[in-house]
């Protein structure tokens, strides 16, 4: 927990005053730019643009907004664009940010899909993609590992068991996601609730 008196220690130069809310076009363009910069994830660029470059939010406000979007279902950064845009300019602002985030990369992706449909069986392209796939899986494993470290450090047996259970149910047994989550979510919430009560007592 950070002390209340120290907002954003690493950015002392950025004041917590809000500049005038941006226009819809400015929102659209800002999100389009961060989306097109975001190879392998947009979050880093989103934070840089919103907090440091445009100063549309303080670091704390950004963290709160992102935490909310992380806890809701769906693609986090897409949720963030809608919530963020709506906080500044109402629902129209939300739609402008949402469209800015998604429209340019969707068009690029559609062009790539057309190219793949036509040339996907060309041997060279197929070899290159196979190599990229292997590297991409390695990147995913690294992300999983990084996210897992705090869990491993705290050694919470129930959390580790739940993690392993979901991994086996989805990855090995290939059960449907909805069914697994309908069981796992209540169990995990119940276990966390009981654990915290025991710690507090």
């Amino acid at each position: 927990m950070s002390p209340d008196s120290a907002p954003a220690a690493q950015e002392p130069d950025i004041p917590a005053v809000h500049v005038q809310p941006p226009g819809l076009l400015a929102l659209f363009l800002a999100f389009a730019r961060m989306s097109l910069a975001g190879f392998g994830g947009v979050l880093v660029f989103a934070r840089r643009a919103i907090v440091e470059q445009h100063r549309w939010m303080t670091a704390d406000e950004f963290n709160e907004t992102f935490a909310l979007c992380h806890f809701l279902p769906g693609p986090n950064i897409v949720n963030l664009s809608m919530v963020f845009g709506a906080r500044l300019r109402g629902i129209a602002g939300g739609i402008a940010a949402f469209a800015g985030l998604l429209l340019p990369p969707t068009l690029i992706m559609t062009v790539l899909a057309v190219i793949y449909a036509r040339f996907g069986n060309v041997e060279v392209l197929s070899r290159i993609l196979a190599g990229i796939s292997c590297a991409a899986v390695g990147l995913l494993i690294a992300v999983v590992f990084r996210m897992m470290t705090p869990l491993l450090k705290r050694m919470e047996p129930i959390a580790l068991l739940l993690m392993l259970g979901v991994f086996l149910a989805i990855g090995v047994a290939r059960l449907p996601l909805q069914a697994v989550l309908l069981v796992a979510i209540p169990v995990s919430i119940g276990a966390t609730f009981l654990l915290r009560r025991k710690v507090a007592a």
């Binding site: 559609t110 995913l140 897992m148 449907p176």
Partner: protein
């Protein structure tokens, strides 16, 4: 899939999936694979792995792998329908929930639920990695490449794009 409109199948599939996609796009990959490859036979295993690679290599949110799946099913309308179905419903949910929670409350439930979801979403992402590895890593060289990238990306702060390009080069050279 003879009589059913493919666009509607895409919209209902991804619209429903997004509402259960706790932990973001990477956590939804196993379900996308199950639906697209095993249930509907929209793509082969290899096409799915290729789509994942293209989505990683392109700019924008990684969830846009659904654009490629949608295109494979129903062309450009399919690409747009799948993207919107995956992104819009949850964005609207997020909008309404954020309005409800606009004032910080004293309740500890949001934090508790968030903590409870963390191990589940990590387990889901680990399952994604396993399923993708099973379709991409068919040779020893491929397994090695995946393992080396995993280690390098775990211990360094190198831009992931370089590792993806290195994988592409090794593929081009016919090594993996």
């Amino acid at each position: 899939m003879n009589t059913e409109n493919p666009l509607w199948a895409l919209i209902s599939t991804f619209g429903l999936m997004s509402l259960f996609a706790v932990g973001g796009a990477a956590a939804a990959v196993p379900e996308m694979h199950r639906i697209a490859v095993d249930v509907h036979h929209w793509m082969t295993d290899k096409q799915f792995a290729d789509a994942y690679a293209i989505a990683q290599l392109s700019p924008g949110p990684n969830v846009l792998i659904v654009t490629l799946i949608g295109y494979a099913v129903a062309g450009i309308p399919g690409a747009l329908a799948a993207t919107l179905a995956m992104c819009l419903p949850t964005a609207l949910v997020a909008y309404y929930v954020s309005r409800l929670l606009n004032r910080p409350s004293q309740s500890r439930w949001p934090a508790l639920i968030q903590a409870a979801l963390v191990p589940l979403s990590i387990g889901l992402m680990a399952a994604s990695a396993l399923i993708l590895a099973q379709s991409t890593d068919r040779t020893i060289a491929a397994v090695l490449l995946t393992a080396v990238v995993a280690v390098i990306a775990s211990v360094s702060r190198i831009n992931p794009l370089w590792l993806l390009l290195a994988g592409g080069l090794l593929g081009f050279a016919g090594i993996v």
